[in-house]
């Protein structure tokens, strides 16, 4: 593993609040790394610490071989950050937004103009490039913010909730973009609470809870920790009460089916026989592998007071 991010006991306190508590993390080059957690879990604080925007209270980080606290300017030249809100200047046009930021990232005037034009084209904004951004839809602002992240072709890209508020088509475009970045050898640090997105895109994920790292691994590894599979049953409406009494761990889904988490494969035939013997009418029996969502909620349930 060739790590581009390494942290050791990285912590940050804001007054009485310990926003990040001893984070130990390694992210490899070329990886799409998911960083999951509830609002206030410490995700944004981590991104700020890793870019030298915040200073740690204790612990260290090394990002792209540099210390964010000491070499912040040099580091930020090589990273790109999409903030949670698009943070584009609504009084300026899309072209002005990109050209000005290109200059801030050290591109020369002609280079800045050319790069801005290229990205406006790539993100489908060329037709309205000279309009003020205030009149853009949320999706267009998000595309512009993403274009801005790529202006200086950063090696390491931090995306904070990149599909938040986007319609499904726009969200899929962002997913394609992330895959494209990964294919081009960039490292992506994806902060999200969209678990399906993390499962779809990330090689590895970390789950943060109240500033502490609760789990880290591939989505499959984390799901494996839960143990077992999820048994999904469709039963006749008349026998539903009987099914629920025989399966106390069962949860009712919106479509009326029953879902039983944490079932070992070898238990399934006996369970089905018991249901049949108990007079439960079965339409369908299927097994689902646990999802990242299951892991996430299981971890959250453990942490909850």
């Amino acid at each position: 593993m060739n790590p581009v991010i390494q942290t050791h006991q990285l912590s940050r306190r804001f007054g009485e609040i310990l926003a990040l508590d001893g984070l130990e993390l390694e992210v490899a080059a070329g990886e799409v790394f998911g960083f999951l957690g509830h609002n206030g879990a410490g995700k944004t604080t981590t991104v700020r610490l890793l870019n030298g925007v915040l200073e740690p209270t204790s612990g260290q980080a090394v990002v792209l071989g540099l210390s964010p606290a000491r070499d912040g300017s040099a580091l930020r030249r090589r990273t790109g950050v999409l903030t949670e809100t698009p943070a584009v200047d609504e009084r300026l046009s899309a072209r002005e937004n990109l050209e000005i930021y290109a200059r801030l990232y050290g591109l020369g005037p002609a280079q800045a103009r050319a790069r801005a034009a290229q990205l406006l084209e790539q993100f489908g904004l060329a037709g309205r490039a000279d309009e003020r951004v205030g009149g853009y839809s949320k999706g267009m602002k998000q595309r512009l913010a993403l274009a801005r992240v790529l202006l200086h072709e950063p090696e390491l890209i931090f995306l904070d909730e990149p599909t938040s508020g986007l319609d499904p088509v726009a969200a899929r475009e962002v997913h394609e973009l992330i895959r494209g970045l990964q294919a081009a050898g960039r490292t992506v640090f994806l902060t999200t609470h969209n678990l399906a997105e993390a499962q779809l895109l990330c090689h590895r994920v970390a789950v943060l809870e109240r500033g502490r790292l609760r789990a880290i691994g591939t989505p499959e590894e984390l799901a494996g920790r839960l143990g077992g599979v999820r048994l999904v049953l469709e039963v006749t409406p008349a026998t539903l009460p009987a099914a629920l009494s025989l399966l106390p761990k069962a949860e009712r889904r919106e479509n009326g089916s029953l879902s039983v988490p944490g079932v070992r494969r070898e238990e399934v035939p006996a369970l089905v026989s018991r249901l049949a013997a108990g007079g439960v009418g079965l339409y369908r029996v299927s097994l689902e592998e646990p999802s990242l969502e299951d892991v996430y909620f299981a971890l959250h349930a453990e942490e909850a007071p």
Binding site: I100, R103, G106, G108, R132
Partner: protein, 272 residues
């Protein structure tokens, strides 16, 4: 110092300011009212009718207490002409300071607190600019705009004042040392002080309006100067303006150092 980054931030802030009605209205309206309409009204009002008795006696009292140089500047003129000279050259002098002060304060509030309010500050913090470059760039836009608008205001006021003076006195009143010192020395100093105070305030508040309201206290010394002169407690002179400029520049060193300390990335990001 990365000059490209500095100019990029400067361009961004000035473009944003010129496209905001809330910022541009006071920047355009205040100079027109203060440096064109008000001087015309005050100097021409006595011409429209005879000066009332109490105005004449107040003028007499004011002149009796005034320093010799001021008395000499209006010697030999009629009361109406004296009113015009006193108003144009002396009474409006402290009022002029409101212009650089207000422009600097409005733009700084928009640039510092406004950027926080619009949630665009965070993206700027993730750029490679150092804290010092970012502070300098963001401080330069309000200050440069205030100095330029102050000089433009001075030029317009000189034209208006000279037209009035030529009509009433048959001579020109501007430029003169007092106003040159105001426009070139004290005005820029006051603009920098107003900027520094607004940055200090902006670090603690989250909206443009809050920054404007709290930063507005900086106008109080100027109001005191206007009242002080009108009541004869003090008289504006070239020497006084040069001395005040020196004091304000010294104060700026302190205020801007404090402002820079508050502008550290970590401090800003902690409050986002």
């Amino acid at each position: 110092m990365n000059r490209d980054a500095l100019f990029a931030v400067l361009r961004k802030d000035l473009l944003a300011v010129t496209r905001s009605r809330g910022v541009m209205i006071p920047i355009v309206l205040v100079p027109v009212v203060m440096l064109v309409l008000l001087p015309l009204l005050v100097t021409f009002a006595p011409q429209l009718g005879n000066l009332p008795g109490n105005t004449l006696s107040e003028l007499q009292t004011f002149l009796e207490r005034a320093p010799a140089a001021l008395k000499a500047s209006v010697a030999g003129y009629s009361p109406a002409q004296q009113v015009a000279v006193l108003a144009l050259v002396y009474f409006f002098a402290p009022l002029y300071l409101i212009l650089p002060l207000m422009v600097s304060s409005v733009i700084a509030a928009d640039s510092f607190a406004g950027e926080k309010e619009r949630k665009t500050l965070e993206a700027l913090l993730y750029t490679p600019t150092s804290d010092r470059e970012l502070f300098l760039a963001k401080a330069l836009s309000p200050w440069l705009a205030a100095v330029l608008i102050g000089l433009l205001g001075f030029a317009v006021y000189s034209v208006v004042g000279n037209l009035v003076a030529w009509n009433l006195l048959g001579r020109l009143l501007f430029p003169n040392w007092l106003w040159a010192a105001l426009a070139l020395w004290l005005g820029p100093a006051v603009a920098a002080l107003s900027l520094g105070v607004t940055v200090l305030v902006s670090a603690r508040v989250n909206t443009f309006q809050e920054a404007m309201q709290l930063g507005g206290v900086i106008v109080l010394p100027v109001v005191a100067l206007v009242i002080g002169q009108a009541t004869g407690v003090m008289y504006v002179s070239t020497g006084l303006v040069l001395l005040m400029g020196l004091v304000v520049w010294a104060l700026n060193a302190l205020v801007l150092t404090l402002a820079f300390r508050l502008f550290r990335r970590d401090n800003l990001a902690s409050r986002l």
